[in-house]
Amino acid sequence: MAPFVPVPDILTQPYWDGCRNHVITVQQCRSCGRKRHRPAAGCHWCGGQDVDWVELSGRGSLYTYTVVHRAFHPSLADEVPYVVGLVAAEEDPTVRFHTRILECDPADVRVGMQLEVLFREETDGIVLPYWRPRAA
C-alpha cells in the first residue's frame, strides 16, 4: 500500500479515472498535437489550452532512476532499498511518468530498460500505476 494516496483535482481527475480503468491517459494539445504529463492548465510546448485526453499503450523505457536506501518517511522503513524512476512513454519519450519500479532487483535496474505498466488498487477508490520490466 502506498504511504500517501493521491488526491485528484480538477486538472488530474481524468488521469486518475483512466487508471481506474487500467489505462494511462494523457493530455494532448489541440493546437500543436503534443502530449504531456503531468496534467497542466496549458501546453508547455506552445501555450495552447484546449486538450483531448488520449490513451497510451502503457509501454515505455526507463529514463532515469534511483535506488532509495534511506527511508525519508517512517512508513517506508520496511521497504528500503526500493527503486523509483522516471519512465518515458513509448509513443513520445518526452512524456514521462514518475513511478515505483516493481518486480526489479535493485542490482538489475538500468537506464533504458523496457517497461510496462501495471495497476494496483489503493484506498479511496484510487488505482495507482506502477511499472515493471518487460521482455524485449
Partner: protein
C-alpha cells in the same frame, strides 16, 4: 545594463549552528546589523530590504522595523530557494539603478536545522497538488528527486561516483581553511566510496548539511560604494531564469543532464562581456556534489560530459587553475540557500580570505541552483 553600475559594500553573518536557539527574525536582524557595521552604515543610510525564502523566515517588513529603518523606500521577498542567492543581488541592483532605493540589504535567515527542514513531510496519508505524482511512490526527500538527475548524467556521459567524489574531496581541502566549516578534516576517496548511500548515487558526503543561520549583503550604487569602508565588489553582469520543468514540474524537463545553467550560462557571459576563461574562481551552488559538475559543463568551463574528468584532474582544489567553492561550499559550511556562496565570492574579491585567499582574484562567477531554474552573476573587484 548592469555592467559595474552597482557594488556590494557590506557583508554580515550570524554564527552557523545546528540549533540557533533564536527566531529567524533575530537571525535576520543580527546578520543585517553585522553587514551595516562592516560597511560603516547606519539604519538611516539603508532604504531598501530584500530577502528570499520558502515560507521559512520572518517577513521583511518585521525585519525592517527591528532594524530601526524609519522609512523603507523599497522592499520585496522572492519566494524561492537556491536561485534567490544571485537573484536578490541582481534585483537590488535593479532597484538602485531604477532610483527606487539607494542602498539595499539582501539577507537570508533560516532555522534550517532546528526549525523547518527542506522537503519535510507530515504524517502518511494524502498527497495533493504536485506531490500526488511523487509521494505515493516513495519519492520523498530532496536527495531522492535529485539523485535521478545524477544517474541520468552517469548513464549518458559515463560520469562515475568517483567523479562526484572529487568534488567533495576538493571542497573539503578548501574547507580546512575556513573557520565556518563544520568539516575540517581531510576526506579520502576510500572514505567517500565507503559511506552508505542515501539514494543511489548520493551519500551524505554528496549532500550539504542543513543549518541555522543568517547572512546579509548590502548593495548600493558604484558612486556611493567608493566612499564606504570596504573595497567595493562590482556587479559585472548577471542572469536568471529557467527552462521547462521548473517548480518541481520535473517530468517536463528537457534533459536531466542539464541544469538551469544550460539556459542562464550564455546570458550571464553576455551580460558580463566575459567568458569562463576570464574567471579567477567560481563559487558554484553546491547543495549536492553532482550539481557542481553539471553546472561547470553548462557554464562552458568544459564540454558537456567532461565535467567529471575536469574535477578529477584536480583543477578545482587549492592550487589548481580553477579555484572552486573556496570556502568549502555548502557541503562544508552548510545550507544557507546559497547566500553564503555569494558571500565567499565577496570575501575573495576583497582579498580578505586569509589562508584560503586566491592569489590575484579579480573576477569570479557565482551561481544559484534550483534544478531547471537558477541564477548566476559575475562579480569583480
Amino acid at each position: 545594463m548592469l555592467r559595474d553600475k552597482c557594488a556590494i559594500v557590506g557583508l554580515g553573518y550570524t554564527p552557523f549552528s545546528s540549533k540557533s536557539g533564536v527566531t529567524t527574525e533575530m537571525l535576520a536582524v543580527e546578520a543585517c546589523q553585522n553587514a551595516m557595521a562592516d560597511a560603516g552604515l547606519k539604519p538611516s543610510d539603508v532604504d531598501g530590504l530584500l530577502t528570499y525564502h520558502m515560507g521559512d523566515s520572518a517577513p521583511v517588513q518585521v525585519v525592517a522595523s527591528s532594524l530601526g529603518i524609519r522609512e523603507l523606500r523599497w522592499y520585496n521577498e522572492i519566494a524561492q530557494g537556491g536561485p534567490g542567492n544571485c537573484a536578490v543581488i541582481l534585483e537590488a541592483a535593479m532597484a538602485v539603478m531604477a532610483g527606487l532605493a539607494e542602498t539595499v540589504i539582501c539577507y537570508r535567515a533560516m532555522n534550517g536545522r532546528s526549525g523547518q527542514r527542506a522537503g519535510e513531510t507530515g504524517a502518511a496519508g494524502k498527497a495533493a497538488g504536485e506531490m500526488q505524482f511523487l509521494m505515493p511512490y516513495g519519492i520523498i526527500g530532496v536527495p531522492v528527486w535529485y539523485s535521478m538527475w545524477a544517474r541520468h548524467h552517469m548513464a549518458t556521459y559515463g560520469t562515475t561516483r568517483e567523479h562526484y567524489g572529487h568534488v567533495a574531496i576538493a571542497q573539503r581541502q578548501w574547507a580546512m581553511n575556513n573557520e565556518r566549516s563544520f568539516n575540517r578534516d581531510p576526506l579520502t576517496m576510500d572514505e567517500y566510496l565507503a559511506t552508505p548511500l542515501i539514494a543511489d548515487p548520493l551519500s551524505r558526503l554528496d549532500c550539504c548539511r542543513e543549518i541555522d543561520g543568517g547572512c546579509a549583503i548590502i548593495v548600493t550604487s558604484a558612486e556611493r560604494a567608493r566612499n564606504l569602508r570596504q573595497p567595493p565588489v562590482y556587479i559585472r553582469g548577471g542572469a536568471y531564469g529557467m527552462g521547462p520543468g521548473g517548480g518541481r514540474n520535473y517530468e517536463k524537463w528537457e534533459d536531466y543532464s542539464q541544469l538551469f545553467s544550460h539556459y542562464v550560462g550564455p546570458r550571464v557571459w553576455q551580460s558580463a562581456g566575459l567568458g569562463p576563461g576570464d574567471m579567477n574562481f567560481a563559487q558554484i551552488y553546491d547543495a549536492y556534489s553532482f550539481v557542481v559538475v553539471h553546472q561547470l559543463e553548462d557554464f562552458g568551463f568544459c564540454a558537456k560530459g567532461e565535467g567529471g574528468p575536469l574535477v578529477a584532474s584536480g583543477v578545482t582544489a587549492p592550487g589548481g587553475s580553477l579555484p572552486l567553492n573556496t570556502g568549502g561550499g555548502m557541503l562544508n559550511e552548510g545550507y544557507l540557500n546559497g547566500l553564503n556562496v555569494v558571500a565567499e565570492a565577496v570575501t575573495q574579491l576583497r582579498g580578505q580570505a586569509g589562508v584560503r585567499q586566491v592569489a590575484d582574484a579579480e573576477v569570479g562567477l557565482v551561481s544559484g541552483f534550483g534544478g531547471p531554474q537558477g541564477s548566476a552573476m559575475v562579480l569583480r573587484k
